[in-house]
C-alpha cells in the first residue's frame, strides 16, 4: 500500500479563494457556487485535483461528497491534468454528415492519441464533443475558445500544427490568458 501524504500547501490560491468568495452575494445558497468554483479551479490547473474538493467544500459549507457528486456528473471535469490546449471535435449529426468522424480519426492519428487522451508531451488533449452548436460551420473543432470552421481532411495537419504552437505559447506563459 502506498502512503499518501497530505499536501502541505492548499490547492486553492488566495486569489482563487477570493474570486470564489466574491460570488457569494450572487446566489441565495453557497451550493450554487459549486460549478463556478470548479470552473475556476479547472481553468487554472487544467483539472480538478482530489485535494481541491475538501477545500472547495469548506468554502461552500458543504460536505466534500456533495462537491464530488456534482463534479463527477459533469464529464467535463477531470482528475488528471489535461493539456494546455483542450480540443473538441464535434461528432454530432450535422458535423458527422460532413465528415467529422474522419477528421477526428485523422487528428488522433496525427497527434498519436485516442479520443479523450492527452499527447505524450502533455500539451494537447483531444476529445470528441457532442453538438458544439457550430452546425453552420460543420465539421467544427473548438480548442481553447478558438473555433476551427468547416474543417477538411487536408486542413488537419495545419490545425494540429496550430494547436501545438498554441500549447507551446500557453506552456511558456506567452499566450494571452483566456477568461
Amino acid at each position: 500500500m502506498t502512503t499518501v501524504t497530505a499536501p502541505t500547501t492548499p490547492v486553492l490560491t488566495p486569489d482563487m479563494v477570493a474570486a470564489i468568495q466574491a460570488l457569494f452575494p450572487r446566489y441565495p445558497t453557497r451550493q450554487a457556487i459549486t460549478l463556478p468554483a470548479l470552473h475556476m479551479v479547472n481553468a487554472k490547473l487544467r483539472h480538478v485535483p482530489m485535494a481541491a474538493i475538501p477545500e472547495i467544500a469548506k468554502l461552500l459549507e458543504l460536505s466534500p461528497a456533495q462537491i464530488y457528486d456534482t463534479l463527477t456528473f459533469y464529464g467535463f471535469f477531470k482528475h488528471e491534468q489535461g493539456g494546455y490546449v483542450r480540443a473538441w471535435v464535434c461528432r454530432s449529426i450535422s458535423c458527422a454528415l460532413r465528415g467529422a468522424e474522419e477528421v477526428l480519426e485523422k487528428m488522433c492519428d496525427k497527434l498519436h492519441v485516442h479520443p479523450g487522451g492527452t499527447t505524450e508531451d502533455g500539451k494537447i488533449t483531444l476529445e470528441f464533443g457532442e453538438c458544439l452548436g457550430l452546425c453552420d460551420f460543420a465539421p467544427a473543432v473548438l480548442a481553447n475558445e478558438q473555433v476551427y470552421k468547416s474543417v477538411s481532411l487536408d486542413q488537419v495537419d495545419e490545425i494540429c500544427a496550430m494547436l501545438k504552437s498554441q500549447a507551446e505559447q500557453q506552456a511558456n506563459g506567452t499566450a494571452i490568458p483566456t477568461l
Binding site: F76, I93, S94, E130, C131, C135, D136, E145
Partner: protein, 453 residues
C-alpha cells in the same frame, strides 16, 4: 404575401452589432423604457399572452401563460432563469443572437423580469459558447455602467441583477428543472413535476425558465404590438381547441447536406422544402434529398416526400414527428445510410442520458449498442423489433421517465423504422444473410471516461 422583413436578426450583420451604441442607434432599450414607464407587470403578461408567443426552446409552451402561473401574493423573491444551454444537435440560433445581438437578449430579459417580478436573473449558458459568454458579459457590464441594470434601472425604481452561470457540457441542463438543479450546484437531474418551477423552482422559489429566442421576441411585441406579431405565422386550428397557433418570426437553422448552411429568420410555418430549396440553396453537390430532421435530432425524421410539411408548432406532428422542437433542420442527402444516421442519434442520447430513470439510461445505451451491432454487420431482423419496443417504451409519453429526453431519443428510432424500415432490413440481410445470432454478447458497457461531455 409581402416579403418578410427580419426582426430578430435585423442587426446581426451590422459592424459591432454586439455593442450598446449600435443597439441603441437602432431603437434598442425603447421597449423596456415604455414598459417601465407605462405598464404594470400584469399588463405585460397580458400583452405577451395576447400575442400568442410560444416558447422557442422546444416544447412550444405559451410564454405569457407560463408567466401567469407565478403565484400572486407570494413574498418572493422570484427568479428568472434564462436557458442558453442550447445543445440540441443542429441548433445554433441562440448562439447567433447572443454573439451578434446580446443587448436584444438582455432587453428581453429585463422585460421578462419586470413582468414576472423577478429581481435576479441567472443566464445559464452552455460552456461551449465562449464568444457568447464574453459578449453577453460585456453587454451586461455596459448596462450596469449605464444604470440599465442594478438598483433602480433606468431611474424607474425597478431593480434587476443578471448573472451569467456557465454550464459544464451536459445536454440535460437544457431541461428546465435539470437546469435549475445544475444552477443550484447539484447534478442536473430533472425534477418530478409538479411542483412546476413557477411554484417551486430555483432555490425553492417561484421561477420562470425561458429560452433566449423567446425573450428576444418580447421587446418587439412591446414595440410593434400584438397585431403585428399575429400577422405572421399559422393561426390556431379552429377544430383543435388545444392548438394555440404558431405566431411570429422564428429563427430556422439549416445544416447538414445543404449548400448554404445557416440561420434564417422567417415567419413560422414555412415548409421544409422551401427552407431547403429557397433559402438553403438546395441539397449540396446537386444530390437529391433523402430525409430531414425537422427541429433538432430528437424530433425525428421527415422523409423527402414529406418536405412540404409546414414547420410551425403543429406541422411536424402531423407527419409523425415529435414536434417543431428548435426548428433546426438537418438535411440528409441520398447517400446517407439510415443505419449510420440512427447510430449517430442513439450514440448521442446514450451519451447524454443523465442516468436518473432506468428506462432512459438503459434504453438509450442498449439501442446504441444494438445499432452498433447492426452497423458492424451482425444485426438480425428481430433487432428491429427490439428497437421498436425500446422506442415505444421509454419517455414521458409511455409514462416511464421524468423528463422528455427519452422521448427525444425514441423518436428518431420510431420514425426511422417507420419511414425507412426497408433499408434497415436490406442492410441486415445484406450484411448478415444467414441471420446468425451473434454468439458473443453485445460488448460490455464501455468504461466511462472517453471524451468531454
Amino acid at each position: 404575401m409581402a416579403e418578410f422583413e427580419p426582426v430578430l436578426t435585423a442587426n446581426i450583420h451590422k459592424p459591432d452589432s454586439h455593442t450598446l451604441p449600435v443597439y441603441e442607434a437602432s431603437g434598442g432599450y425603447q421597449a423596456i423604457r415604455k414598459v417601465l414607464g407605462e405598464m404594470s407587470p400584469v399588463q405585460v403578461v397580458d400583452l405577451v399572452k395576447a400575442s400568442g408567443l410560444r416558447g422557442r426552446g422546444g416544447a412550444g409552451f405559451p410564454c405569457g401563460l407560463k408567466w401567469s402561473f407565478l403565484p400572486q401574493n407570494h413574498p418572493g423573491p422570484f427568479y428568472m432563469c434564462i436557458n442558453a444551454d442550447e445543445s440540441e444537435p443542429g441548433t445554433f440560433n441562440n448562439r447567433i443572437l447572443m454573439e451578434q445581438d446580446p443587448h436584444q437578449v438582455i432587453e428581453g430579459i429585463m422585460i421578462g423580469c419586470y413582468a414576472t417580478k423577478a429581481t435576479t436573473a441567472y443566464l445559464y449558458l452552455r460552456y461551449e459558447y465562449p464568444t457568447a459568454y464574453r459578449r453577453l458579459q460585456q453587454a451586461i457590464d455596459e448596462c450596469y455602467a449605464k444604470g440599465y441594470l442594478g438598483d433602480n434601472c433606468f431611474g424607474k425604481g425597478f431593480s434587476l441583477n443578471i448573472y451569467m452561470h456557465r454550464g459544464a457540457a451536459a445536454y440535460i441542463c437544457g431541461e428546465e428543472t435539470g437546469l435549475i438543479e445544475s444552477l443550484e450546484g447539484k447534478r442536473a437531474w430533472p425534477r418530478i413535476k409538479p411542483p412546476f418551477p413557477a411554484i417551486e423552482g430555483a432555490f425553492k422559489k417561484p421561477t420562470v425558465v425561458n429560452n433566449i429566442e423567446t425573450l428576444a421576441c418580447v421587446p418587439h411585441i412591446v414595440n410593434r404590438g400584438v397585431d403585428w406579431f399575429k400577422s405572421m405565422g399559422i393561426p390556431a386550428d379552429p377544430n383543435n381547441p388545444r392548438d394555440p397557433g404558431s405566431y411570429g418570426p422564428k429563427l430556422y437553422c439549416i445544416s447538414g447536406h445543404i449548400e448554404k448552411p445557416g440561420c434564417y429568420e422567417m415567419p413560422l410555418g414555412v415548409t421544409c422544402r422551401e427552407l431547403v430549396e429557397r433559402y438553403g440553396g438546395g441539397v449540396w453537390k446537386g444530390r437529391k434529398g433523402k430525409a430531414a430532421i425537422p427541429g433538432g435530432i430528437s424530433m425525428g425524421l421527415l422523409a423527402e416526400s414529406e418536405w412540404d410539411t409546414k414547420l410551425d408548432f403543429a406541422g411536424p406532428g402531423k407527419a409523425g414527428c415529435l414536434g417543431l422542437g428548435t426548428a433546426a433542420v438537418v438535411v440528409l442527402d441520398e447517400t446517407v445510410s439510415m443505419v449510420d444516421f440512427l447510430h449517430n442519434s442513439c450514440r448521442f442520447f446514450a451519451h447524454e442520458s443523465c442516468g436518473q430513470c432506468t428506462p432512459c439510461r438503459e434504453g438509450t445505451s442498449w439501442s446504441e449498442r444494438i445499432l452498433y451491432r447492426i452497423k458492424q454487420g451482425k444485426g438480425r431482423l428481430k433487432d428491429l423489433d427490439l428497437l421498436q419496443t425500446i422506442g415505444d417504451s421509454i419517455g414521458i409519453m409511455p409514462g416511464t421517465t421524468i423528463c422528455g429526453l427519452a422521448d427525444g431519443a425514441a423518436w428518431p428510432i420510431k420514425n426511422a423504422l417507420k419511414k425507412f424500415r426497408g433499408e434497415f432490413e436490406d442492410y441486415i440481410k445484406r450484411t448478415n444473410p444467414n441471420g446468425w445470432a451473434n454468439a458473443q454478447p453485445v460488448e460490455a458497457l464501455e468504461v466511462i471516461g472517453l471524451g468531454a461531455h
